[in-house]
Structure formats: C-alpha cells, structure tokens
Amino acid sequence: MPQLDVSTFLPQVVWLVITFVTLFLIMWKVAGPRVGNTLETRQRRISGNLDKAAGFKKEAEAVLEAYERAMNEARAEAGQVIAKAGAELSEKVSRREAELAKRLTAEIAESETRIEKAVSDAINDIGQVAVEAAGQVVRKLTGEDADEGAVGAAVDQAMKTRP
C-alpha cells in the first residue's frame, strides 16, 4: 500500500505545510475579506434600503394622516361657510322684507295723508263752489248780489247738517 511508504511522508508533509499555509494566507488576507466585504456591503445596502422603505412608509402614513386631517378641516370649513352663507342670505332676505314693509307702510301712510288732504281740499273746494253757486243762484233769482257772508254761513250750515 503506497500510503505506508514512510519515505514519501516527509515530502508530502513539507508540501502540505507550504500549500496549506499559502492557502490560509490567501483566504485570510484576500479571498475571505473579499467575499465578506461583498456580503456585508450587500447586507448594509439591503437593510439601508429597507430602512429607507420603512421611512417612506412612515412618510406615507404621515402624508395620509395630514391629508385626512386637511380633508376633515376642509369639510368642516365648508360646512361653516355654507351655514354662514345661509344665515347671511336669510338675514338679508328678512332685512329686505323689513325694508320693503317699512317703505310700503310709509308709502301707504303718505298716500293716506295725501288722500285725506285731497278729500279735505275737495271738501273745501266744494264749500267754495257751493258758495259761488249759491251766490249765482241768488243773483239769478233775485237779481242782486247775495251777501257773501250769509251765503257762506248758509253753505256751512247746510254742509254741517249733512253727514
């Protein structure tokens, strides 16, 4: 069996030590760190990306919250605006109505006084006309001018007796 040939032991051990130490040095100083660095870089990169993703997620949540809050605020504001507008409108309407009513009442009152004045004017005029008419009637009948004072008094008297 070649394995038991003692004379081959020494050269095998010598080269075993040489090659093993060489490989160990390569592994230790070159190959190992190279692979290790790549793995570490990748891990760092991925976990960095995951951190970033988590950050984005948080941001998205914040944005969503802000959006919802803004939405609610806007809704509330809109409600307020609508209510306010409604109130304003109804106030304006009632104010206008009141104005109109006031104006109408005033106009009515004015017309009434005007009518009253017209009526009283008319009545006065009627008295005047009646006096003149009565004077003419008297002149036509009697041929002479009637006493103006007496006619006036008679007309007044007649008008007073009538309702």
Partner: protein, 260 residues
C-alpha cells in the same frame, strides 16, 4: 556481470509498474516529479504536492476571480463563492459558537483544502492527497495542537480540568484522568483515520469496478453504470467527509473555548 546486476532491478521495477497499473491501489502511488533535497530534508515535489498546489490555485481562482466583479446582485459563480463562505460561516457560528468567528479563515481554508483534495480524486488522472494517512494525520495534528493551544490560552492551567469531568469522584480520578487523556489524544487519530479510510475505500472501490469494465468487454456497461452511480456517491461522500472533518474541528474548538 555489472550489467546483469543493474538490469535486473530495473526490469522488476518495470514489471511492478505494469502490475500496479492494474492494481486499484496504483492511483495512490506517490511519484517524485521534481526531486528536491534540502540538507537531509526530502522536499521532493511529488504528484501529491502537485495536486495540493492545484487546490490552492483552484480555490484562489474560485473565490478571488469569482468575486472579481463584486456584484451587488451576484452571478452564478459569485453565488457559489458566497454560498461556500456563508456555509462555513454558519457552521462556525452554530458549532464553535460566536467566539469561533476569529478562527473562521482557518476553518474555511481547512474545509476548502479537504473538499478540493477529496474531489480531485474523482477527476481522471487525478490524485486525492486526502487518501494518504500522513496528510490527513498532519492536518489533524495541526488542528489538535492548535485547539489545545487555544484551550490553554483561554483557560490557562484550568484547561487541565478538561481531563477530569465534573462529577467524577476523586477516588476515580487515577482511572478517569488517563482515560480522558487517551480519549482526548485519540481525537486527531479518529479525525484523520475517518477521512483517510473514506477516501481510500471510495476511490479503491471505484477503481475496482472500473477495472471490471475493461475486463468484461461488451458487458462492461453494467459495471459502468455502477461506476457512474458510485462516482455520484463518492462526490457526496467527498463533500460529507470534508464537512464532517470541518464540523468536528469546530466542535473541538468549541470544547476548547467553553470547556465543559
């Protein structure tokens, strides 16, 4: 007369070579490719050494060139290089504990050296240096000495307590301590013998069946199928043995770091 004396051993050597070429053990033969003699030290460059150099080159290419693009999203080659790294890193962490991380380069080297050594025996004209007990034993011895040094460096004189398991009655100590010491010393032996025996058995078996292919001619396809299946099994075993070798090393490291 002179010629006769010199010619005979040459001739027998030739015959031996021919005979050994068919022997399933011929594949394990050590050939001195470049004889090197440093003083009394025989440091000849053998076929075993050649394949060890192959291993260094292959592993370096696999890892260094595999990572040359250093891509964030790895290709297939880089994935494999990373996977081997992660595999051993997990093993070190799970088996030796977090403190074992310092020894990761050594464990990684060990795994690669043994794994590629085992695999190289599968390649045609390949040579598995791990099928030589001297190689596996030397590696196991390095591990054994290293682990013992780590144990003493970490625990000082208390590491001797390793040989007296807690709960042993003091009366039993004269018996228990030698047994524990022998048990401890048997670690490099069992570690190296297991790897060596697996590689020897597996590669011999394949060679035996491969020999059948030639001798059976047309019907050689039956052993061929067998060799094919066996080669698959051997690849698995080559991996498993490298794994076991490395895991046990991690385990010994764990024992040295944490004692009981």
């Amino acid at each position: 007369m002179d010629r006769g004396v010199t010619a005979t051993p040459v001739r027998t050597k030739e015959i031996d070579k021919v005979a050994e070429a068919h022997s399933p053990l011929a594949q394990f033969e050590i050939k001195r490719l470049v004889p090197i003699q440093i003083g009394d030290l025989d440091a000849s460059f053998t076929n075993s050494a050649l394949f060890m150099v192959f291993t260094v080159v292959l592993v370096t290419i696999f890892l260094v060139l595999g990572m040359r693009r250093n891509a964030l999203v790895p290709g297939r080659w880089q994935s494999m290089a990373e996977l081997s790294y992660i595999f051993i890193a997990n093993m070190v962490r799970d088996t030796a504990g977090p403190e074992g991380r310092r020894f990761f380069p050594f464990i990684f080297t060990l795994f690669m050296f043994v794994l590629v050594g085992n695999m190289l025996g599968m390649v045609p004209y390949g040579f598995a240096y791990t099928s030589h007990i001297i190689v596996t034993f030397s590696i196991a011895l390095i591990i054994f000495i290293g682990v013992t040094v780590v144990g003493f460096a970490k625990h000082g004189i208390r590491f001797f307590g390793f040989f007296l398991p807690p709960g042993t009655p003091l009366l039993m100590a004269p018996l228990a301590v030698p047994i524990e010491i022998i048990s401890y010393l048997s670690r490099p032996v069992s570690l190296s013998v297991r790897l060596f025996a697996n590689m020897l058995a597996g590669h011999t078996l394949i060679k035996v069946f491969a020999g059948f292919i030639v001798s059976m001619g047309v019907f050689g396809f039956v052993p061929f199928a067998f060799v094919f299946a066996l080669t698959g099994l051997e690849l698995l075993i080559a991996f498993l043995q490298a794994y076991v070798f490395t895991v046990l090393t991690c385990l010994y490291l764990h024992d040295a770091l944490h004692m009981h």
